[in-house]
Amino acid sequence: MWWPEWSLRRQDAPPDRPCFVVQSETGGFRVVTANAPARSAGVASGMPRREAEGLCPGAVVLERDLGAETNDFEPALVAIEDLVPKAEVVEPGLVFVPIQGALRYYGGEIPLLERMVDRLSAWPGGRLGVARGPFAARRAAVLAVEAPLRVDDDAAFLSNLAVDALPHEDLVATFRWLGIGTLGELSRLPRGAMASRFGEPGLAAHRLASGEDRMVAPREIPEDISVEQRYEEPLRSLDQIGFAARALAGRLITALGERGVAPHRVEVSVMAADRTERIRVWRSANPFTEHALTERVWWQLRAWIETAGVPGGIVRLCLQPADLSDAGRQLSLEDDTVSQLEAARALNRAQALVGPDAVLQAKVQGGRRFSEQVSWFRWGEEPAVPQRSLDAPWPGRVPSPSPALVPPEAQPIEVEWDGGMPVRVRLRNRWEMVTAWAGPWRLAGRWWEGEESVERYQVVTAVSALLCEVRDGSAFVVGLYD
């Protein structure tokens, strides 16, 4: 849900005169939103304040007050959460609602959207976009002027949009200069070339353009990473909650920083003196810094206090991170930033040479065969969720140490047997005597998938040790203990 003019919902914003709201950013004030009379004079979001004032000299200029806006936004959020829990706030006026779990309850997307539109009619001007990923949903909301816009295929929907939709202003200018006008044109470029030429931001832009938004909770969240503080005297004053927000946000970011991660989402939960609990999730496209997180926690607590959402004051405050990323973490003094940048550049160059599918990282997962125990993912991308649990027993698994070399396809090998015992193996052109062997470990095949059962042996010769599979009387090398 996106209310483009949420910042203009304030008492001092005149509805009939040109008016726009500005926000302080690096490099000065910029326009956040403008009302219709100001827009007709040429004022647009993102424009520097001076330029906007030049275009519309008589306009009322207001400075954005995010704390007050959060207060005003709170009732709308409560209304949304009455329908679907765990809405994720990005800023006042922009909220992502994960509807996957609620679809069955409401009988599909359309009944849910109808209810949501009906419930939010008290806050007119909202736009509703539905898509698989947050980036596509946000772009759909921009276009949903008259009615909610539902996107079935994120990549197809994004392909027709202009590159200006991307969050990287500098990159957009470069893409335009290179003649790349739409996200579709961008997504058709080789990813390796993008990584090589534009580095991490280029890779991120390519992913967004291809409809591959951030996965939810792509990294493992360390246990007990949430931070919590209990207060004997309930916090009631804004000063008190300001200090509490800063202290707890600092603790969380420091604890995560020690693990080399930073959060994209944080769940803020409080318990009131009357044991009422309130929870709100805040989301950011870039990982939260300590300052950014402090601000959001402060806005949220202030909104709850001022809207009487925590009767009697706050007795417990808890911050729980989610959707962790190491991409934008704050580097500590010991981190060698130059080394990291050089390493990233070198790997980008390697990706450009051999292709993104040949520069890989790996994660261990469960499996009976060594080849199944590795989950590969491209360097620079989030690891895939392991398909097989490490904790499962995996009967037939050969004990460690693992072979250092595991061919992708089993390699045929000649083995001479005597009474069921391997006696000689043929390595290249020479027969080598077997000096020791272990096994067999029987691997029962999944007969329902047409897979045969095999027996596996560790075979040792004077020059090497092999892991062999025997099926239908033929032997194959499936690992080399090199």
Binding site: D336, S339, Q340, E342, A343, A344, R345, A346, L347, R349, A350, L353, V354, A358, V359, L360, Q361, A362, K363, V364, F370, Q373, V374, W379, V398, P399, S400, P401, S402, P403, A404, L405, V406, P407, P408, M421, L427, T435, A436, W437, A438, G439, Q458, V460, T461, V463, S464, A465, L466, G479, L480, Y481, D482
Partner: protein, 213 residues
Amino acid sequence: MEKTATARREAQPGETRWDLRAEPGRIISLLGTAGSGLTRLGLSMLAEASQRNLVAVVDVRGWLSPIAAFEVGIDPEHLVVVRSKDRQQWSQVVAALIEGLHVVYAEVPIGISDTHLRRLAALTRSRRGALVLRPLDGRLPSGVSHLTLQSEEVVWKGAGAGHGHLRGRHLQMRAWGKGVGGAERLFEVEDDGENALRVVAGMVTPSAGRAAG
């Protein structure tokens, strides 16, 4: 060995104990047949560097199992495997990696020219990188490696005549080059399968005499 190995604990009587590791500006080459334990030995040289920075393995055959790399102590988050089957591209890929990474382990495909290998050696020295080269066949041209380690014998532990399972191995290696002060050395490496490899005994062998007259 002194320049490429660092003592970690007090040596026991009659025993010299080192950890093998790659050092800045040095090239180590590993010679021996497949199955003689050199891949694990090479990977173990990346373990210490991987605790702080990204390390890369250039996998020519696409056979490398990262599980073995993790077993010898490489940090899973810091290991990047680059598959480069194209012989023409191999030296460019290794050069690109040496430009930005502290430590690279690379299998050397058959047929790489001496010129390319010498250029890589020069680049490694100038960038203060560490390169571990594992030729799939033959040797490297002279002057490229700071230290050459050749597998002489491997003795496996744990497997019998159909019982037990492989648990570890003893490697007997021969070392030569500037890294061992010009003298040729024989030493043994112990690999218990779970931890980093260790050099457990070393002895100097007399270098070959030069005929005169």
